[in-house]
């Protein structure tokens, strides 16, 4: 049974929940990292995946990307772009985590700021779940409008009947 064949409100409501959850998680994670950029830089360095020149740049930009994504996801504007970026981010995090776990590194995750618990396979499970949520939100969420305006509801229904 395909998810788009579910009764009308199910997919958008799940997508909304996913989107808001992702937004809150990103907002918290981003703010924690913005508070202490040098600690986060150290956490990135500990993964031993990037050259020295890229570490501080990423430590400056990534937290803000997370915060702006969170704003987009919660406010419901630029939802597609935000969901796509969030999916790409979680994909990248998962790959980095997998490489580090396979290498057997005992390092801080850096997921929520510089010094959080050391990495394990549960973190990878969490990242892939969040990746799935991002992809779901990318394909099924249409912003707040789909709940507020009847017009867009009928548009969505038309789209469904075409598919």
């Amino acid at each position: 049974m395909k998810i788009r064949n579910f009764p009308a409100p199910v997919a958008p409501v799940i997508a909304l929940i996913c989107r808001l959850a992702l937004g809150i998680i990103f907002l918290y994670a981003g703010l924690e990292k913005i508070i202490a950029p040098s600690e986060f830089a150290l956490a990135i360095y500990n993964y031993r995946l990037l050259p020295d020149g890229a570490i501080n740049l990423l430590a400056v930009i990534l937290p803000w990307l997370e915060v702006l994504l969170a704003c987009g996801l919660i406010a419901g504007s630029y939802v597609r772009g935000s969901s796509l970026l969030s999916a790409l981010l979680f994909l990248t995090f998962s790959v980095a985590l997998t490489i580090s776990l396979v290498r057997g590194l005992d390092i801080s995750c850096g997921c929520f700021g510089g010094s959080t618990g050391s990495i394990n396979w549960l973190y990878l499970f969490r990242d892939t779940s969040l990746l799935a949520m991002s992809v779901f939100s990318l394909f099924f969420d249409r912003g707040w409008n789909s709940f507020l305006l009847r017009k867009s509801m009928t548009l969505a229904e038309n789209e469904r009947s075409e598919g």
């Binding site: 150290l42 570490i55 501080n56 990307l65 772009g81």
Partner: protein, 173 residues
């Protein structure tokens, strides 16, 4: 069937294209905001200023040192595992009795053996030869970063130990 597949591909693409465009806009805004914020805040960090070699030096400088008297005392109480950070040939010619040989680059290989030697309240003391020798610090740093809880550096350890007449051993371990 083929037309249906193409139609489906088209629908996915038509959803992804605006997503990519929006994502690019978000990334551009982010880069501007992030760099501006970092430049303005007092605790901003240099964008390309990360230096791993300086970081390692700094971390190595923070490793506590141990004097010969303390080292010998702990040796008598069996609260210490000595790690000889010199090359294997020097180790074979003579080392502190009971020490194991771990060159800085080979920490990962010997880690399980070292952990099995460490009792609960024992610490690791690394040494090499000569006051300027960097190997003991490098090994201690590598051990700490691999999850050994406590390591101390015994500067000029081999010469001091030998001249003090404390127990030494020869050969491989």
């Amino acid at each position: 069937m083929n037309a249906l597949q193409q139609n489906r591909k088209f629908k996915v693409a038509s959803k992804l294209y605006p997503a990519v465009r929006e994502a690019l806009i978000i990334v551009i805004i982010t880069v501007i905001v992030a760099i501006a914020f970092n430049a303005l805040r007092p605790s901003g960090i240099p964008l390309f200023g990360f230096s791993s070699s300086e970081l390692i030096k700094k971390q190595q400088a923070n490793i506590p040192l141990i004097t010969i008297a303390e080292a010998h005392d702990m040796y008598l109480k069996k609260k210490v595992v000595f790690v000889d950070a010199r090359d294997p040939l020097s180790f074979e010619e003579g080392h502190i009795a009971g020490a194991i040989n771990i060159y800085p680059d080979e920490v990962a290989i010997h880690l399980t053996r070292l952990k099995s030697l460490l009792s609960e309240n024992a610490i690791v003391v690394t040494y090499c030869d000569g006051p300027q020798c960097p190997l003991s610090k490098e090994t201690a740093h590598a051990l700490l970063s691999q999850g050994i809880p406590k390591a101390q550096v015994f500067i000029n350890g081999w010469s001091l130990w030998l001249h003090a007449g404390y127990p030494v051993a020869r050969g491989k371990i």
